[in-house]
Amino acid sequence: MMLLEAHGLVRTYLTRKSMFTPPEAVRAVDGVDLVLAPGEALGLVGESGSGKSTLGRMLLGIDPPDAGEIRFNGAPMPALGTASWRKLRAQMQMVFQDPLAALDRRLPIAEQIAEPLAIHGIGTASERNDRARSLMAQVGLRVDQAGRFPHELSGGQRQRVVIARALATSPRLLVCDEPVSALDVSIQAQVVNLLRDLQDRHGIAMVFISHDLKVVRNICDRVAVMYLGRIVEEASSDDIFSSPRHPYTRALAASVPIPGARLDPSTLLQGEPPNPARRPEGCAFHPRCTLMRPGCAGAVPRLLPTTPTRRSACPVVAA
């Protein structure tokens, strides 16, 4: 059985430019289907504004979907804020982009790491304390740092605290929202390795949201590429980077710099992603696409299997 199944997820935000204009609907996530097997690592990549963070929050049930359904472990996601929703938090956790913001600056870190256990009433106070210390050791923090406050730690150490806190209740699903993008490159590698190790050791299913393709390739089994709220291609991480099919994926894969080589300008993406409130007709990518055909502005292409392990939403390359 799949750990997480999502069908037809839609999330619309209303924005207003000024007081007098009618609100505009922005479809941040626009009909996403996803499945995640237990212990699998799925990467979500895409430009800023492609809806990957919103999708990550919806998969955790933090952002309620406007349409569509999420099933965790076969059961539908309970409504946000209910007792059963809170109880389910022990099984699904999130790692945030900015660890300093995600930590309470007035509490020592050991207390924050043990907090999920206190919230879910697991163990006695001394057991929780022991568990916090063993988690700190697992994520590579020194036990003598237990009484430190978040601002006394480095960025990488803070992210380790956030990861330790997320692991406290031994969750089955971890959503990492750009967990390394706020860190120095040297520390990024440490945190990525830590996440990989933890995933190997505990078999936690992971949704890894990032715009850094190298990191995603390193950590994920499968990758879904998002563009303006839709998944345009999904395949194993080796396939998606070695033989990208969708023109957007190709452009993304080609944008990863190779030392010593100049990037080929013809494959690079031009311009900015369009305003999500004014989605282009048909395939949303067609104004920037190098393979654009007249039909591309007509119907919205569906995400269809092209090979048994790959789904792609481009009729031009599928043909």
């Binding site: 955790l60 933090i62 809170r86 109880k87 389910l88 938090r89 022990a90 956790q93 999130m94 945030f96 900015d98 913001a101 995600a102 930590l103 309470d104 600056r105 007035r106 509490l107 907090e115 999920p116 919230i119 879910h120 406050f149 601002h151 956030v162 806190r165």
Partner: protein, 283 residues
């Protein structure tokens, strides 16, 4: 050599008070002791008149702060007034802080209709000429200590409500509060254990602003004859009645005015220091 200072490191929580703050704290402590012990400390009864020694200047034997127009001992009246004024000011400040913060948190938690209602009430409160409302209430129900404290407690709650609401929303939008919600915490835990300690510094500073305002407001009401009723006496009441003798016997008014000034200054200093101490990032 360099290891020695690390060995004798002071405990983390050991406060190092600046001299000014120590003086302020001692003053506040003295005020609190006076408030509790004014019955024992004061040399005369506050209504005891000595008509032969009317308007004697400070330093007169037996009346160290002088006497007023009825020959009542200013020192005794001052000690009793400190008790009454502190009771009103502390009571009202705490009442408005608790009430306002609770409403602010409720607004931030429920948003929508609850938030709109609370904000409308806050606007209403801010737009209301409070003195006139207080006059009306006191004139209808008569002046009593409880009513006065409650009435003062409603003064200034809208500031706490706005501050608490704004800070709680910003904490929830990005950061620690939403992270804790995401861990599965109940709202009570999120608000009391995480948001309240984080916003306490701002609220404490706001309290140090409300405190002198309440003292002054009580003085105003007492002066208008609707606050603390004679023969009971408060600092504002003393200032109000002493005003008539400002030129002939300034000590009647200056003594309580001096106490008001020093107490509010001490509260500000201590509040400021406390805010810094409560913030681990400023240590």
């Amino acid at each position: 050599m360099t290891a020695i200072p690390r060995l004798i490191r002071l405990p983390r929580a050991m406060p190092r008070m600046p001299i000014l703050v120590s003086v302020a704290a001692i003053w506040l402590l003295a005020m609190i002791i006076i408030a509790f012990g004014s019955d024992i400390l004061r040399p005369y009864d506050i209504t005891q008149m000595d008509l032969s020694a009317r308007l004697s200047a400070p330093g007169t034997a037996g009346h160290w702060l002088g006497t007023d127009e009825l020959g009542r001992d200013v020192l005794s009246r001052l000690l009793q007034s400190i008790r009454v004024s502190l009771l009103i000011a502390f009571g009202a400040t705490i009442l408005s802080a608790v009430f306002g913060t609770t409403l602010g948190f409720l607004a931030a938690q429920f948003r929508g209709g609850v938030e709109h209602t609370i904000l409308v009430l806050a606007d209403f409160q801010a737009a209301l000429p409070f003195l006139i409302l207080a006059l009306a209430v006191l004139a209808f129900f008569g002046s009593s200590m409880t009513l006065l404290v409650c009435l003062m407690g409603f003064y200034g709650w809208e500031r706490y409500a706005r501050i608490a609401r704004g800070l709680a929303i910003s904490a929830g939008a990005q950061g620690y509060a939403s992270a804790v919600v995401q861990l599965g915490a109940r709202p009570s835990r999120v608000y009391l254990r995480h948001i309240l300690p984080n916003v306490a510094s701002t609220l404490i500073v706001s309290m140090t602003l409300t405190f002198p305002e309440v003292i002054l407001m009580e003085s105003g009401l007492s002066f208008l004859g609707l606050g603390v009723q004679p023969p009971e006496s408060s600092l504002g009441n003393m200032v109000g009645f002493g005003r008539d003798y400002l030129t002939r016997a300034p000590w009647i008014m200056l003594a309580p005015a001096f106490v008001i000034m020093l107490t509010t200054l001490a509260i500000s200093l201590c509040g400021d220091w406390l805010r810094d101490r409560l913030d681990p990032t400023l240590r």
